[in-house]
Structures are given as structure tokens and as C-alpha cells.
Symmetry: C2
Subunit: 434 residues, 2 copies
């Protein structure tokens, strides 16, 4: 087998065999295949795509490249939830406690902010004392005691994916559906879960700009799960405007607290409840999705989801009082209002622009090495469809350092479109796949 | 400027600026841009193509990456001839002496055999004593004295192309029209020529399998030349069967000698005369192409082309007597006949198979490091369209080592198709571009 021939065949749109995919993954992981051949292969995949059989083979081999976590000694169905990345998306911190309060065991493998999108680990780390760097043993113990734990991806898990991902990042091959699907699924499958609820974002603030692409990605991940007997269900949800009102790490933790006390934004509450219901259903704590929705609702209304998050924050070394006393969270020192230049209806709030502006003042990262400022971000005052007067506040920027505020404010201003007629109403949850 | 952004934009089909192309070529040549980014870029070019402006910028920058030869002190128009590579293609050794005999100065920058295609330098080196490794000074002197010299590409010329080509070879990005065009043209432009006649091969034995691709390649190279005020003309010619009867280095030198004595195969004679006429016309030794054809014809008939090749062989250290006394050339020790399994018409002789079979027994190379056996090859006994009886000899394999003969004979047998009806006649020269 020659690597160049495999690149050639993929380039020409042929399907590679399971053995050929294994040869590529193993060769790249052990250094036998150089970066320059793998990057050419990845670009060929970007253009030629992969069949379901190929993407499963790729995923399986990336799982096999490292250690796997075995959670089978814990009782019940282990359910994880994953979002493909959005702006203001803090549903993990709401849906997971609700489902855990319903008795589902939830090993949450979470990510970090990159580009314009946020990351659950960064949000949690805005809580003083919170530790995301649990060992696998600590994580397992936490799951046994509290049903819920948050952890980052271990270096030992799917190292082939880590190596491939770094290369994709440097070679403009990130936005490939089979490569995204196999990257997500290899990390999830290696972490010992039984079922997975996916939130595939689509729209201006998401990696997938078109619903047809989001659907293909969802179908691919559901298929990868099916082939290894893991139940995967995906919601395709709108990311044309930020989710909720808060964007920025500590700001989002505050909104999580409000939402778990049933005083949060409607869109965030609706999506979090649906995700929680899917987790409860896949976790076999309800016989039907309708029943699961009722359970999720009740865990919100009786405050048990809220208490579960407090409990978990405490268990992972954080100060649980932050959920009641927001002054214990890092707070910004400056604020800047963005006002509407005219009266009308808010017809667009470009989520990518808001995410980028927020990252620019310190809430996110350009590169993995950048340090996050947990206090800063954006709070929207309006959502799409709302009527505003000229001069009304559209949002506020919260910052601790003036350096990029001007630029960020400009970007935020550009994110809003005010129209004379009300925009069409859009659904938040667009489709269910799997 | 970030390399990853340039890859991204090329991947998405955008046009890069002259400065951006320069950044990529310079960065790659000086080591600032790693192989893995360049190979991803090359694969993106394979799929997204390049505009004429981009391919000119790429060519110019590859020329600028190394030394340029200045031949302006030599009188007249300096004309080179280049073939994109074929099987049995020895036209350089016929057309160049004819044009030189007509007074054109011809710096022939020649290549080596690779894969199933032959190379002029290897053919010349089958002549005892022939030196292809002239210094630029020796080359210049030879051109001044004899109007014609044969030389390989200097390492100092277009080093960026050399580096890019090696990477393309390992990453399945060879077959890209803009990359082929810029690679050929950068080497030619750096060698100080004023005009260029191209023979773009199309068919089973060529890199371009489709005429539309051959035409695009020809147009691109003509355009690159035009943008730097070099006259480039391209013939698109059929390579669905080998050119002439002889394939293999010394065997081809013998056929060259016969053809320059007006006793060669019709197809080889026709194409060589037309290429010579184009060179004579671009070299301004004839006012019209019709007149140039007459000149070329007369240089064949009066033996002055033949004498010119002898003179040049002598000047480059070779034994000129080989053109009369073929026993002075390396000779094979074994021969194997391939016979027709049935009576009928020869309807196909797959040039790639013949080229591969010939390479397999030692006439060509798989990798640049392989050593050529100058004596071996294939002599066809028939051409497409000819009627044969069952058992008639189709060709003979000449070898010095039995090792791969069986395999090569099988390949050669597979190359022939014998049909009950005569195939349609095909033109040899399909188009003229430029």
C-alpha cells in the first residue's frame, strides 16, 4: 500500500477500504506518514467527501489510536450531550443538571472556546475554584456520587484525532463534514458513553451555514453511532442569533442560574428543556419523549436541576454560592452601550459578529494559547423580532480593558439589522435526526 | 498574511493576488511555509484551479526563485521545443537538428524518462561518450558554434519548481493543469529562450487523457508566455499509440537516424517536420509557416539535419558514427516476439502499456534513482489501422535481463486490440494553439 495512491484514489472520488483508512490513521499516528501527505489527503476528503463506511472506519481507528474509558461499572445508561458550537450556547450547563436530577448518569466531555464560539470548560472555570482537570478516577467517582461531572478531553483519548485536528486547523480543512463527524464521534466513543444527544447548530453563528449541511453532519454522526450500537440523536437548531441574552463566560453562568430558576430567556429555556428531555429519554428514565419532556419540565420547576448544578460545582471544587450571589463571579469594570440608529424591528443579530466581538475583548480565543478574561462579554437587550425605538439600547459590551473595545463595538453595531417591517418568525428547533 | 487563509480562499475558489502567490512561493522556498501547508494548497489548486493571472504569477515567482540564464549575446531568436511526454516520442532529436540546420539557435533543455514516458537526455546518453552535464558556459559556447545543444535542467534554475514538484509527486497533485503549466514554463523561461514550440500530447499514453484538458494546458502555457512577451505555440498531438516504431533509448536513436535520412516512419516524420517548421517560423528564418515547412522539408531531404545531429553529438563528446553503425550503440541480448492471436485490423496499441512494459524491462524509471538500461525496449511491427494475419508478429521486446520479460510481454499483449473491421483514421496533429 502506498500513501500517495490512497490520496490519489480519494482525490478521484473513490471509496477507500477499512484497511486502507486504518493504514492512513495508524501511519499518521506513528509518524510513518508525514504531515504533508496527510494534509493533502484531508484536502482531498474536503472536496471528494467520504462514504458512511469510510467515516465509520476513520472514527473507529481514531478511537483505537488511544485509551478508552470504561464506565460500564456505573449503573444505567451513560448519556452525553454535545453541541457543534454556537454563540451564547450555555445549554450544557442547564440540560445536563436537569437530566442528572432525573437520574441519568452524564459524563460531560466538554470543550473550550475557539474562534467566535464559546466552550463549556471556560464558562465553568469562571467560577472561583472550579476544577475541570479531574483524573479519570476522580471523574468516575464523581459520576458515581453525583450522576454528573464535567471534564475536558484527555490527551490519551483518540490521540490520532488530536494530531489530525491540529493539522486541519493549519491547512484550511476544518470545514469538512466527514472530518467534523469523525472528530466529534471518536472523542465521544472513546469516553465510554452509551448514548449521545447532539445539538447541531446551523446559521450565521455556526460552522454549518446551511441546513442541508447540518443535516448531513447529523446523519453521519447518527450513522457512526448506529454502527457501534450507540444511540445518537441530533437536534438541528438555529444559530442565526445568539442563544439567550448573555455572551461571555461569567455572564453566561449568571444566565444559567436564572434559567435553572425558571427565570431565563425563552429560547434558551425551550432548547435546554428539549435537550434534557432527549437525554432523559435516551437514558431510559422515561418511556416516551413526551413523558421525558414532562420530567425535564418538573426538574426545572421544582428547582432540582438548579440544586444539582450547585452540588456538582461544589463537588468539583467551585464555590456553589456564585449561582445566587453574582458578585462572587468575576465582574467587568467597564460597559459600553450600543444603541439603535433608527426605530423599527430587529431583523438580524449576526451571531458570528457578536461572538467575534466578545472574543476580541477577551471572552474567547484566536489560538489555543490565548488566555480568557472570564468577566467580559456582551449582554443583548433585544432579540430578533422585537420592536425598538431610535436610540434604544440594543446591547451592552462589558470589558475590563479598553484596548479592543472600539473595534468590538463597531462589530457589534454591524451585527444588528433594524428593518421597518417585522421579520418572519423562525423556529429554534428545526429538525430531529436519529 | 496567513498561509492558512490563502489555502482557505483558494479552496473556496477565490483568486489570489500576485502578492499572495509570491508570499506562498517565497515562503515555501525559504522554508517559512511547511510542506504540509503547501501540499494542502496544491490539492486545493487541483480542485479549484487557477486563473491565468494566478498561473502567471506562480510561474514568474518560480523563475525568480533561482538563477536565470542570459543568452541575449547569442544572435537571433532562441527557440526551444518541449513535449509534455509521450511513448516513442523522439521528435526533439529530429526537429531540433532540422531547425538548427536552418539557422535557428536552439537551446534544448531536456528531461529524463519517468513512469511510462521517455526522456531526451536518456536517449542521448545511450550514445557512448555523450555528455548532457554541460556547464552553462559550455552550453553557451556550444550554441554559439553549433546553434544546437542539449542540456538538463540546472539545479540553480527555478529551485521553487523543483521543491514543489517533489511534493506534488508524493501527494497526488501532479495532474493539475495550472501546476503542470507553471512547472514547464518556469523552467523554460529561466533558461533564456525567446520562443517555444510545445507538443502537448493527448491520449492513453499521455498525462492528458482528454483533448479539452490538453487544449486548456496549451492555452495556459501560451498565455504565460504572452504575458512575458515570449512567443509560444503549441501543437496538440495524438498519443493513443506510440510515435514511430521504436520505444527504448538506443532503439529510438536508431530510428532518429533513419528518420533524418528520410527513411523513418510516416507519423514520426510528419510530426517532426511540423515541429521543425514551427521552430523555423518562430525563429524568424522563414516569413510564413508555409515557407518554414518547405525549409524544414529541404533540410531533411538534403541531409543537413542529419549532419547537424552528427555534429552536435560530436561536440558533446559522443561518437557520431553511431548514426551509421548501430552496432556501436548498446544492443539487447534477448528478443521476444508478440504475435497476433487472430486475423483482423490493429485497432488500438495502448501507448501507456507499451511505455510501462518498456520501462519494466529497464528502458524507463519508476523513481528518479532507478538506472536505465539503454539497450532495451520494444519495436512495433505494426501500427493502428494495419491488417494482420493470425500469428503475425505485432512487436518484439528487446531485453538484456529475463527478470521482468514475462510480465512485460503480458502487458504488451494487452496493449494490442485486433478487430474485425478497420478503425477510423485519426489525425496525428489535432490542433494548433497560439
Amino acid at each position: 500500500m502506498r500513501t500517495v495512491d490512497l490520496i490519489h484514489r480519494k482525490r478521484d472520488g473513490e471509496e477507500l477500504s477499512v484497511e486502507e483508512i486504518a493504514y492512513l490513521v495508524d501511519g499518521y499516528t506513528n509518524g510513518g506518514i508525514p504531515d504533508y501527505q496527510m494534509s493533502a489527503f484531508l484536502m482531498a476528503v474536503f472536496f471528494s467527501g467520504m462514504t458512511d463506511r469510510e467515516v465509520s472506519a476513520l472514527t473507529d481507528r481514531m478511537v483505537a489510536s488511544g485509551a478508552s474509558v470504561d464506565l460500564s461499572d456505573l449503573p444505567g445508561v451513560k448519556v452525553d450531550k454535545h453541541s457543534t458550537g454556537g454563540v451564547g450556547d450555555k445549554t450544557s450547563l442547564i440540560a445536563a443538571p436537569l437530566a442528572a436530577a432525573a437520574g441519568v448518569t452524564i459524563p460531560m466531555i466538554s470543550g473550550r472556546a475557539l474562534g467566535h464560539t464559546g466552550g463549556t470548560l471556560d464558562k465553568l472555570e469562571s467560577i472561583p475554584g472550579f476544577r475541570t482537570g479531574l483524573s479519570i478516577e476522580e471523574f468516575r467517582e464523581q459520576l458515581g456520587k453525583h450522576q454528573l461531572g464535567f471534564i475536558g478531553q484527555s490527551q490519551e483519548v483518540a490521540p490520532a484525532d488530536g494530531k489530525v485536528y491540529a493539522l486541519r486547523d493549519a491547512t484550511a480543512t476544518v470545514e469538512s463534514i466527514p472530518l467534523i463527524a469523525s472528530s466529534i464521534m471518536s472523542k465521544k466513543l472513546a469516553m465510554g458513553l452509551d448514548a449521545l444527544v447532539l445539538d447541531v447548530k446551523v446559521g450565521s453563528g455556526a460552522f454549518m451555514k446551511k441546513q442541508v449541511d447540518a443535516r448531513r453532519l447529523a446523519q453521519m454522526m447518527v450513522g457512526i453511532g448506529r454502527r457501534v450500537d450507540k444511540r445518537v440523536q441530533a437536534l438541528i437548531t438555529d444559530m442565526n442569533q445568539p442563544l439567550g441574552y448573555a455572551i461571555g463566560n461569567a455572564l453566561e453562568v449568571m444566565e444559567v442560574s436564572q434559567t435553572l430558576q425558571n427565570a431565563g430567556p425563552a429560547d434558551l429555556t425551550q432548547l435546554s428543556l428539549e435537550l434534557a428531555a432527549r437525554m432523559i429519554h435516551l437514558g431510559k428514565k422515561a418511556a416516551s419523549i413526551e413523558e421525558a419532556r414532562e420530567v425535564a419540565q418538573s426538574k426545572l420547576l421544582d428547582g432540582s436541576g438548579y440544586r444539582k448544578l450547585k452540588e456538582v460545582i461544589g463537588a468539583q471544587g467551585g464555590n456553589p454560592q456564585v449561582l445566587d450571589r453574582f458578585e462572587l463571579l468575576p465582574n467587568a469594570t467597564g460597559a459600553r452601550e450600543i444603541s439603535s440608529p433608527r426605530a423599527g424591528y430587529v431583523s438580524a443579530i449576526d451571531a458570528e459578529y457578536i461572538g467575534l466581538a466578545s472574543a476580541m475583548i477577551g471572552a474567547g480565543r484566536d489560538t489555543k494559547e490565548d488566555v480568557i478574561d472570564p468577566a467580559v462579554g456582551v449582554i443583548l437587550e433585544v432579540k430578533i423580532g422585537q420592536k425598538v425605538d431610535a436610540g434604544a439600547v440594543l446591547c451592552r459590551l462589558y470589558y475590563t480593558n479598553e484596548e479592543h473595545v472600539e473595534e468590538a463595538a463597531q462589530l457589534v453595531e454591524d451585527a444588528f439589522r433594524i428593518s421597518s417591517t417585522a421579520p418572519e418568525e423562525r423556529a429554534l428547533i428545526l429538525e430531529v435526526v436519529g
